[in-house]
Symmetry: C2
Subunit: 267 residues, 2 copies
């Protein structure tokens, strides 16, 4: 699974994920806070990009943050320590082999995880069993098919398509954001509410131009150049033109749009 | 121009535009209200689908609503009369040959109009000259490239592409929503703020499933079947499969997404 993880585990990638969490934190997390004394399972915490935000926003809640990668857990633990957080316990474990009893958490939180799983409904159903009755499940995922921009560019869409295809070949789904509602229904949740979190970027929002269009999204696409060319998905000149055209959208007359989806369900 | 108008002037089309205004009214218009005594030019009012909403929300403002089509103006006048509105004057005239003096309006409002114009910046610049200093320009446009859905369907995207191409052949641009910021900049406006208005539809929102996905968007695509086939843009079986797949998104596990853009600038 680690070898197939399409975002990679490299330092630059870690920085990108952190940038992403920094610029998008309000958009994605402003409406998530857990009561004092409640227990929260963060499934798939990665390098802790969301963990620090989550745990800071709910200092009275106790978090258990897990990830399948021991390296990621080590990095997440360092981040949480640097942030002075004492309400997070980290544990290296697999979502499909969790060492927890049924109904042992008040809430579950999953962010940028389902996109990498071949069986997202099964994962949600497993996590559902860990929830106490009345507990909540929160899921956040992106959707690369929500990407459009001005000036438009077939080459840029082709480059983005490489990321989608590589993720598909690795067993994941980069278009999963739009699917959160049916996935949560299929996993047995009630009172499901899904809301889109659209990132709209034009030149009047320079922080997003740099933090999102350039350093989050375009950097992610640039990061798949090697595997995209190695697997023959695209000609190098097309890929490079696509990346140039993504950078072109950061000029003063450019616009960039991307949408995350956040779903909340009750047990 | 009338003959090229891609949405047509037929009764069913009028009903569709009215449906659209009914279900989307809050999303698009909730933050638009004009002070008592102010004068507002609505450029391109069509059959008055937005006029009634606008004028009702600002009963103390005086509206001048224009359209190039005499038939549309006649229908808009009937609608306003049925709604009991007395603060709207209608006039048949062309945006590019307006019979108004410079600086004669406090505000200008343009909705679903630029998408049909070959020279949208020029139109905005002409309207800018009609504004008093400090006046506001409000523009609302859709963007068919913002459309995605679950289950995904290449045939549905191809059918939507026919609408985009027909509108392009008629001199318009069905992807203009994302461009509002650079268009308003180019037309000389200041303090420009563009915000996306995303319509997210899943089975928990049955009014939108029926009112937007089925009766607004899919009905619009169904409406271009004849010209799309006549111009050889698509095979009939592909078009029909695409429309079936758009209807498929209205089932209980389906999701549909579309985004309008609203831009406001100051003179």
């Amino acid at each position: 699974m680690n070898d197939l993880y399409v975002h990679g585990y490299h330092q630059r990638e870690n920085e990108r994920l952190q940038d992403q969490a920094g610029t998008l934190v309000d958009l994605l997390h402003a409406d998530t806070a857990y009561p004092d004394g409640s227990t929260v399972l963060e499934a798939g915490c990665g390098v802790g990009a969301q963990t620090v935000t989550l745990a800071r926003r709910s200092l009275g809640a106790r978090f258990t943050s897990i990830d399948i990668s021991a390296d990621s857990i080590a990095e997440a633990r360092r981040r949480a320590a640097r942030a002075g957080l004492t309400n997070v316990a980290f544990q290296q474990t697999d979502i499909f082999a969790l060492p927890f009893n049924a109904a042992s958490f008040d809430h579950v939180f999953v962010c940028f995880v389902l996109e990498h799983l071949a069986k997202p409904v099964e994962a949600l159903a497993i996590l559902n069993r860990l929830l106490r009755p009345g507990g909540s499940m929160t899921v956040i995922e992106g959707d690369h098919g929500s990407t459009y921009f001005y000036p438009d560019s077939p080459a840029a869409h082709a480059a983005i398509g490489c990321q989608v295809e590589l993720q598909r070949q690795a067993g994941g789904n980069a278009l999963i954001g739009r699917q959160l509602y049916p996935l949560l229904v299929a996993a047995g949740f009630d009172a499901i509410c899904v809301s889109p979190r659209m990132v709209y970027v034009d030149a009047s929002r320079p922080d997003l131009v740099d933090g999102f269009t350039r350093r989050t999204f375009t950097a992610m696409i640039e990061g798949v150049r090697e595997p995209a060319l190695a697997t023959g998905l695209i000609a190098p000149e097309t890929f490079d033109a696509g990346v140039r055209d993504l950078h072109r959208t950061t000029e003063t007359d450019g616009v960039f749009c991307y949408t995350f989806f956040k779903g909340v369900g009750k047990k």
